[in-house]
Amino acid sequence: MNATKAPMKPKHQRLVLLALALAAMAGALALGISALGSSATYFYAPSDVFAKAPAPGEAIRLGGLVQKGSVQRLPDGLTLAFRVTDNARDVPVRYTGIVPDLFREGQGVITEGHFDAQGTFIATSVLAKHDENYMPPEVEGSLHKVQGKVTS
């Protein structure tokens, strides 16, 4: 067996270097993502809030669905009270101000604010999150009819 290896061509050297660099980058990405964890997350779901129990007054973002049948307008005419749910836990929210057009029961929202001492989330802003479904109104109407038949 020949002990002396033929020297690599420069082209192949560069190719190996590139492959190593790409592998190192993928590794760095994986490490970075796992180190970032949930701190790169834009909002907490109600279950996260129960798990982490943020202190009253701490500024956080809370996201989830507006619970069906929970939206009430308080007597001052400006403040909305509703519950945000992730279908596991739910949190009472209060918000004074104008909500986006897409805000409605069953719709995703992201609220920014803090918890008061009673455990109500006092929101200073409400954003509507929309889902990845795109369809014309007629289709949505007929879907509801089908669901209505199933449930009734």
Binding site: K11, R14, L15, L18, A21, L22, M25, A26, A28, L29, I33, S38, A40, T41, Y42, F43, Y44, A45, G63, V99, P100, D101, L102, Q107, I110, S125, V126, L127, A128, K129, H130, D131, E132, N133, Y134, M135, P136, P137, E138, V139, E140, G141
Partner: protein, 243 residues
Amino acid sequence: MHRFANPARFLRIARVLTLPLTLLGLGLTAAGLWIGLFDSPPDYQQGESVRIMYVHVPAAWLGSGGYLGLAVASAVALVWRHPLAEIAARAIAPVGAAFTAICLISGALWGKPTWGTYWVWDARLTSMLVLLFLYLGYLALSSAEAERGGGKAASILAIVGVINLPIIKYSVEWWNTLHQGSSIRLSGAGASSSIAREVLLPVLLSVAGFSLLFGAIVLMRMRAALAQQAVAARSRRIAAAYT
């Protein structure tokens, strides 16, 4: 690969391809936008503002797809030292940057009526902004290197920046974001795309049209760069002959 590395052969092919790509691209874009703007239904929740999608989605696709092209061309330029690869990378970069900017601007205009805000620092929006900065960094570095004659820093930057592409793609799955998840799934069951057919058709038409136009613009820019090189070489020869 080596067959196309010959600039003369490349020019022959590019010359034939440019016009049909441009015409077909314009036609498909016009059809996609016409159907999207006038002949497709409003969304069941967003109403008419959903039509911004017919510009936003192709722009986002070409911003990130163009970056992949830029990185592959840079890698070929670094490893195989093909002169055409570097020309291709320089030709792609400003076009990709323009589409990324269109994506960010149309997304902001879409965000206001649907989400209630132009901008949030969530993972998807932030990583897309980083993509624009990567393009701008590449453009600045490569033009600085072109002035000084040669250099690898721009190509290396382009390759390192590839790390941002999976972050953009999966940002909506790895983290909670205001931006919604993907509607069009390329892999897995095709039927699981959560987008109605009459909405999907104009999206696909304008994605195809924008992509062909992207290709045509890149070919034109590469031909112009090669022509400039030829002019520079010829004037050097003439200057040498007369001195």
